[in-house]
């Protein structure tokens, strides 16, 4: 359930931006989540609604943008795109891959009025 901690962090960032930009209402929050990020998206969406309660972002729509996973294959030494962490290398079929991208948990932007 660290998704709740993440959402509390998201709330802090949103509130700081709301203050700086004098935002009165936020209609959408867009997050970028990497395929290999330690995040369960359903849990995050649930925690988001709870964490935003009572804040400027209460009731705001959450949009999650998926960032593809990238990995280095230790068999063919190529950088490849991976849909699932345990998939074999799409280039050589090797099974020893280490993530090199797709671990992001980032607030991209806010849609405000």
């Amino acid at each position: 359930m660290h998704e709740m901690s993440l959402c509390e962090g998201i709330r802090e960032v949103i509130e700081a931006h709301a203050k700086v930009h004098k935002i009165s209402r936020i209609t959408k929050v867009r997050l970028e989540i990497g395929t290999f990020a330690c995040v369960e998206k359903h849990a995050l969406a649930f925690a988001f609604d709870v964490a935003m309660h009572g804040s400027i972002a209460e009731g705001t729509t959450l949009e999650i943008i998926d960032i593809p996973g990238r990995a280095l294959c230790f068999d063919c030494a190529k950088e490849v795109e991976l849909i699932d962490r345990l998939n074999p290398c799409p280039n050589c079929g090797g099974g020893k891959l280490i993530p090199i991208g797709g671990e992001e948990i980032r607030i991209k932007d806010l849609e405000v009025t």
């Binding site: 660290h2 901690s5 993440l6 962090g9 960032v13 849609e111």
Partner: protein
């Protein structure tokens, strides 16, 4: 800013865009702050944020890293499922290397049992109870460090909350994550929870004295570990019988030597 003329004066409510900018003859009041409403153009705007959600945690982690680096203190974040034998391993480790050259931060949701166990060996320990939290974070560890008297060239063990999921995501400012897996947990644990094994530099296969009794394949454990992290170092030990402890103690001494020589990257 006015979205028609680009002027900065948002205090001018309803200024005119017909001819002279300063001509205030025609007034039009809208709902937005520039006082202009144009059909077809939404009032909605985008504010670019581009902020890592963990940025605040990472800031605390960087602060911890600096404090620990200035002291040449090697810091290891020990992660495992509950009951894998982290505290027993630590007690045994303290027996081997001596209590004065190390300190322990104990993370649990509740109780001070583990800190008491560590203190009974003579080593200093701080218990961090996370309440409902499932992991330690950079801030908690920073507070705990302030409550310890760390010696230069010593080792700080951070025993995370027993959990193979969440601790993987939180940088504490440590030099390395060390994951501990007991042989009773099942050979497929690295495949089921790859994140934590990917993030770790060393995997300790603990309770190997139980291996003959529970029909486990230690080679398969290691094969699965290599599959999710080809770079991970592995060692087998039993904190109860002491088998394999020497290799672990050697690893610690080597890591401490690297840290003392200013090499941040452990192998």
């Amino acid at each position: 800013m006015c979205i028609i003329c680009g002027c900065e004066d948002i205090k001018v409510q309803g200024h005119c865009h017909d001819g002279d900018h300063n001509n205030l003859k025609d007034l039009h009041f809208g709902r937005n702050h520039v006082g202009v409403e144009i059909s077809g153009i939404s009032e909605t705007r985008l504010i670019e944020v581009k902020t890592d959600v963990l940025a605040k945690n990472n800031m605390y982690a960087d602060r911890n890293r600096k404090v620990l680096t200035d002291l040449c203190t090697l810091s290891l974040n020990l992660i495992s499922s509950p009951g894998s034998g982290k505290t027993t391993l630590l007690c045994r480790t303290i027996e081997e290397i001596g209590s004065c050259s190390l300190a322990v931060i104990e993370g649990d949701q509740q109780t001070t049992n583990d800190a008491k166990r560590i203190r009974s060996t003579g080593a200093q320990a701080v218990q961090v109870n996370t309440g409902k939290g499932c992991h330690l974070d950079g801030y908690m560890v920073g507070c705990a460090i302030e409550n310890l008297e760390l010696n230069p060239n010593s080792i700080l063990f951070i025993e995370n909350v027993g959990n193979l999921v969440c601790p993987a995501a939180f940088d504490l400012g440590e030099d390395a994550k060390v994951v501990i897996l007991s042989v009773t947990e099942g050979e497929d644990k690295p495949l089921k929870y790859p994140d934590v094994f990917t993030a770790s530099k060393l995997a300790i296969l603990n309770k190997i004295d139980l291996a003959p009794h529970c029909n486990v394949n230690l080679e398969l454990y290691e094969e699965n570990l290599r599959r999710v992290n080809p770079k991970i170092k592995m060692l087998r030990l039993s904190a109860r019988t002491g088998e394999g402890m020497k290799t672990w103690i050697n690893w610690l001494h080597n890591a401490l030597a690297k840290k003392s020589h200013g090499k941040m990257q452990l192998d």
